[in-house]
């Protein structure tokens, strides 16, 4: 059974890496957005494998349902499609793609090695680990979900109010940012042209 899970894990991991690669390289922002959505779904599946069902639910319903819709809307409203960035200045050499890829590799190697070393060098007791533990009974899962809510309302009772306050602030702020009426003078020439044409059309 666990071998099966490992197989699934590896498949999902490869899927994730592919989607990530696609988000860099596809030519349209819209495509990047839906590849991102696939990425998020993959992550949620990993949560499911890690016996974190409620995180799965949160991931899907907040990321998959909320943020991705935002992304798609924005991608359609601000249609603009040029992707890879190549620096242009006297530092062009070290800002070229090669440098960036090398930086990426350095980071990746370190970021992969560090936690693994940190775990393997120091002997934590991992007999409680339930990662991908297929023998977990259903009642334990139920109990964990119950514990999650319990912990959220007792120990971390500040989390929910602060999060909701943050989200409310973000909502109002974004509405204020977007709803604002723009003077023609403030705008750049392109947009000014567009707006004027629009008004002419009316």
């Amino acid at each position: 059974m666990s071998v099966f899970l490992q197989f699934i894990f590896i498949t999902v991991a490869i899927f994730l890496i592919i989607t990530m690669y696609m988000t860099w390289t596809v030519e349209k922002t819209m495509q990047a957005s839906y590849w991102l959505i696939l990425f998020l779904v993959g992550i949620s599946i990993l949560f499911l494998i890690a016996n974190s069902e409620i995180m799965f639910a949160f991931q899907l319903s907040i990321y998959g349902g909320g943020i991705s819709v935002l992304l798609l809307f924005a991608a359609l409203l601000a249609q603009h499609d040029d992707y890879l960035f190549v620096g242009d200045s006297i530092f062009g050499k070290i800002q070229g793609l090669r440098t960036q890829i090398s930086v990426f590799l350095i980071l990746a190697i370190n970021l992969i090695l560090l936690p693994i070393l940190a775990i393997t060098n120091t002997n934590y007791n991992t007999e409680n680990s339930v990662l991908g533990d297929s023998e977990r009974t259903v009642s334990e899962a139920f109990l964990d979900t119950a514990r999650f809510s319990h912990q959220l309302w007792t120990e971390y009772s500040v989390v929910i109010p602060f999060l909701s306050l943050l989200l409310l602030t973000a909502l109002l702020g974004s509405i204020k940012l977007v709803i604002r009426e723009w003077e023609l003078e403030e705008l750049s020439d392109i947009m000014k042209m567009r707006y004027e044409t629009k008004e002419d059309a009316k």
Binding site: S2, I17, M20, T23, W24, T29, A32, L36, I43, L46, A50, N51, M55, F58, Q59, I62, Y63, I67, L70, L71, A74, L77, A78, H80, D81, Y83, L84, F85, Q100, F104, L107, A108, L111, I112, L113, L114, P115, I116, I119, Y124, T126, N128, S129, V130, L131, G132, D144, F148, Q151, L152, V159, L163, L166, A170, W182, S188, D189, I190, M191, R194
Partner: protein, 109 residues
């Protein structure tokens, strides 16, 4: 039995990838997408750690922090996209490499 190191390696790689995207992308939308990737990899690491140390003994801090990260990500996405829209209205594009009003302009002297 999947070891936590698998998750951690994957999340590290994904994090680096997100960082790479942030560095290399020209388009603000894509930068935001890469940021989401980074956040998700961080979440993955947190959930993995929780599953390794906390879940068995009924301590779920990892999940709660992941939840906080998700909420913050939602707020950040909303604000960021709003900012992109207003930038788009102002400049007619959201290519970060073409928006350099920060840059010290050439002074004709």
């Amino acid at each position: 039995m999947i070891d936590a190191t698998w998750y951690l390696g994957l999340s590290g790689f994904l994090f680096a990838g997100g960082l790479f995207g942030v560095l290399t992308q020209k388009n603000a939308m894509r930068i935001l997408i890469s940021v989401e990737i980074m956040l998700n990899s961080a979440n993955l690491a947190m959930v993995a750690f929780n599953g390794m140390f906390g879940l068995g003994i009924g301590n779920l801090d990892g999940w709660i922090f992941a939840l906080i990260v998700i909420g913050v990500a939602a707020a950040e996405a909303a604000i960021g996209l709003a900012i992109f829209l207003s930038v788009y209205r102002n400049f007619g594009e959201i290519t970060v490499s073409n928006i350099f009003t920060l840059k010290e302009q050439e002074v004709a002297n």
